[in-house]
Subunit: 566 residues, 2 copies
């Protein structure tokens, strides 16, 4: 009997179910009153200028006619024929995605018990190749409030050729989908607009959902932040806050932290307000002030020197992963080198390709190019070896430079260390530089969603259903006024066409949704400018702690969102 | 008025106080009944054999006589003369340290309102140089249940010379300390034993507190785990669990994770039970099985090949930071190279020192040494460049190899990738290897303590006070039966002398407390052996989530602790 009890205990300890997951599943996400009341109706929402550029009107003649909608409650009308809806997760995982599916599923089942939701597997290629499962109440209950995109998987493929579009149309037609919900970032929502245009003929409406931890999918006044951003930032803030704590205890390390987030610095800005680091770089500011990489190095080194003077040989530094893109001199070299590599590779066999050459041969080849000036060489040779090698890294399949592959934090660390050695020799720097470098990205992307993102994702799923039920297509579901309590959230439909602009992709201009960078005129950045001197010298560290789901610390929202809405 | 409200809101958002910290401070740590009853008495605890080696009896004649004690409640005796006690934090920060101070402080004030606790600043050198503050009720309330060692700072200096010992004695005499509590790992507790022996004459009793996130300070049957281990492991497990989640969503990366923890693999083992990764390396097992580094590479690569066969090109791998020490062939080279460097540097000027030489010159110098055999060269040259360079890294001030400085995860990643390229050419490996590497250490070390570590640290502080009040010196305060509820915890005093053995340090044998490695015969490792095949192939991931302080997931304990006590 004792042996049996022991065995039961061992099994409980070795299982992959935890008290934590059980508790998370039991949380019932809050629904705003407008969505709680039923699928409701849509009405025009006035007061916002949303212009569509000419190219968009040409390429998306139908969905370009969409106007901004709000979803309002009305007396429930009985749905007669069951609908079948599809949903696909696209791009990197973001916390809250499972709740979008849960919201869509619950809204569909509420409207008619025979409504079905079909989930496509491993991203958009699941539509092209028709790999799908029918989503069940059990699947939804299992994944509710959990992180990642496990339920269906995800992928980065785009539906970007007529052939793929045709196969999507076939899949949707065979499955008789009356609606398709695309959960993704700027590119996936671009895809949603083209799908909406193309699937119109077979009666499949398409709605996009704003997802990305990077936070760069925004529509001023309408979409403050996509889902997933808050959770990822809180996970990174936990880590950086813990490093603050370590700094102030051990008193001897400078921690250089690179944070995921592509080119825009939204994540770094939010994590800065969460943790009050000693140095924070904002790519958009570096661009506006036209700082060189040596300026950036000085900016960091000066704080280290100032703190050393007060006996503080420790600190934390936040570096957005896309920072190099904003440093003009670096960006120019990246573009030129990308061009030289592409031109060379077109003529070369696989075995001779640029990345099979030695470093010296690569530099020689670049030096010999007609677009490479002496000035470029001087700038290039002035960079440390790590950055030189970084600039020559393999381009992606579209020929684009892969910022995330460069260990920017180590490059800056090395350059700062070199600069400080000279300052030390001159007697200006009297400290002792010991460093640690970190990259936080995938770990935060995979976190459990905060309660904010649980609620947000769930409401987005319901809003998507409402838009579909009301005949909308070519829209992004969104929640207006996220800074207010859930009771005051306003579900809306943002037309996709006005969000689009022309951008160079694969060497030609393409119609895509514009990424939003950090607004240097908005309150959040202005307040950062006001606070950061204090953060740099005092130990004004903020310790947000791990994400909480119960107790008084469970109800949080992005600080930048709150500041910008004041 | 609206402007004023806005300003108040902004100030709240920009402050470094959070709802989370307020909530943490309000938690009242649980105290076991034996300590809740008062300082109590000490009695011998029988049933454990604790032998003292001859060298320890010679070097520590007084404290070697100590025998194992238990603390039991008795009728409270009134303390007449106020005491003054000192406390010092030593070595790397560990979550729960502030609660040790809080426990000591509250126990002291309970015994007599005029008792004082003096905190030495920035580690043991604070005693040597007499840098201290008097700890106040406010300081304790502010830091209760918070992470790090902010309250006093910490340092790694040891009191290891007669001169330093003399100055400590002076400090303790001037301050009239009747007791000194040393919070630290194996080396700090070694120091505590020598301090106890040396401060006997001036009436300062010394008590050690078992602290280290590495988990390698254990006494079988008496001290299951030091404080700080659980919190750090939970922080790492959050991160690895999030990577599991990312894996299962994005379906394309192998994550190589190096975990802090010095030589022993306790942290990796605990994090493995918390997360069920696809591959877990245990240094102690590698040593026992005499695996070469190529064997270890095979061990990882085979799982990657097997999973690729099932279409799973993703997974998580845990690598303890001390792994190289357990690979015999690597360890031999490390020892030989350390010896060659030390001998060379003794004759060289600062400018000629080994680490100023080029890589080629370093290799030449090693090759020419009389202790370097042809076989060593063959092994060395068979290693990838990253490992070769790692082996030549600067030694610490004691001439020791610095394992934490080697990017072991990147070395293994590179070797695995090379091996798999060959397997792919042979058609055996059909997958696509995309990798990410991570090092988790400082971020977990600085986390807020779990409720377990909050309670544990607090009880240790009370236990230390009880031992001091009962005249004990040369002991480590400990809590027996940590796997049971707090109500059943047993405060004890473990004599320090029997924990000591002889170990080579700075080239000579020294008397130090022995580090405890992972016990390959204990249930935890046996169960790992049983489970890991399943973890490697199935996606049996466990997602522990962020550390919780409220709700059903707040009461957790180390899984290895629970398994080993069944």
């Amino acid at each position: 009997m004792a042996g049996k009890l022991r065995q039961t205990k061992i099994e409980a300890l070795l299982g992959n179910e935890t008290a934590f997951r059980v508790a998370r599943r039991s949380y019932q996400p809050h629904l705003c009153p407008r969505l709680a009341a039923g699928a409701g109706s849509t009405r025009p929402l006035d007061g916002f200028d949303l212009d569509v550029i000419k190219v968009a009107r040409e390429q998306l003649p139908f969905v370009s006619k969409n106007t901004l909608l709000k979803i309002i409650p009305d007396s429930p009308s009985r749905q007669v024929t069951p609908r079948r809806l599809g949903v696909v997760l696209s791009g990197g995982p973001a916390p809250g995605g499972h709740n979008v599916i849960a919201g869509l599923f619950h809204a569909a089942k509420r409207a008619h018990p025979d409504n079905q939701v079909i989930g496509f597997l491993a991203g958009p290629k699941g539509i092209v190749t028709d790999k799908h499962v029918e989503i069940t109440a059990d699947m939804v209950a299992t994944h509710l409030n959990s992180g990642g995109f496990h339920m269906l998987g995800t992928g980065r493929d785009k539906i970007d050729t007529p052939e793929k579009m045709k196969r999507c149309r076939e899949t949707c037609a065979v499955l008789k989908l009356s609606g398709l919900v695309v959960v993704g970032g700027d590119d996936s929502n671009t895809n949603a607009a083209f799908l909406a245009e193309n699937l119109r003929g077979i009666g499949t409406q398409v709605i996009g959902i704003p997802k990305t931890i990077d936070g760069d999918l925004q529509v001023p006044g309408l979409l403050q932040i996509p889902f997933g951003f808050h959770s990822a930032c809180m996970a990174f803030a936990t880590e950086v806050g813990n490093l603050n704590s370590d700094c102030k205890s051990d008193l001897k390390y400078w921690h250089f932290n690179r944070l995921m987030g592509r080119s825009a610095s939204h994540i770094a800005l939010e994590v800065a307000f969460q943790t009050h680091p000693n140095v924070i770089l904002i790519g958009e500011e570096i661009e506006e002030k036209e700082l060189t990489i040596h300026n950036v190095v000085r900016l960091i080194a000066d704080v280290i020197v100032d703190r050393a003077r007060e006996g503080k040989n420790y600190g934390t530094i936040l570096i957005p992963e896309g920072i190099l893109e904003f440093i003009h001199e670096v960006n120019v070299l990246i573009i030129k080198i990308s061009y030289i590599i592409a031109r060379y590779n077109r003529e070369a066999t696989e075995d001779e390709s640029f990345h099979k050459l030695s470093f010296e041969e690569q530099v020689q080849l670049i030096d010999n190019s007609d677009i490479w000036r002496d000035y470029d060489s001087r700038v290039f040779l002035g960079f440390p070896g790590l950055l030189q090698k970084g600039l020559l890294l393999p381009r992606d399949s579209h020929g684009n430079f892969q910022y995330a592959m460069v260990n920017t934090e180590r490059i800056l660390l090395e350059m700062v260390a070199t600069y400080l050695r000279k300052q030390k020799a001159k007697g200006i720097y009297k400290g002792n530089l010991r460093t640690q470098n970190h990259y936080y990205g995938y770990d935060g992307r995979g976190t459990f969603p905060t309660k904010f993102d649980c609620d947000y994702g769930y409401n987005l799923g319901f809003a998507a259903y409402s838009l579909l039920a009301n005949g909308a297509t070519g829209y992004m579901a969104a929640i207006k006024d996220l800074h207010l309590p859930v009771a005051d959230w306003q579900p809306i439909g943002i037309p996709l066409a006005p969000l689009m602009h022309l951008e160079e992709r694969k060497g030609r201009l393409e119609l895509v949704i514009a990424k939003q960078k950090v607004d240097l005129e908005a309150p959040a950045f202005k307040l950062l400018e006001q606070e950061r001197r204090k953060w740099s010298l005092e130990d004004h560290y903020r310790f947000p702690g791990p994400i909480q789901f119960d107790g008084p610390a469970a109800d949080t929202k992005p600080i930048t969102l709150q500041l910008n809405s004041l």
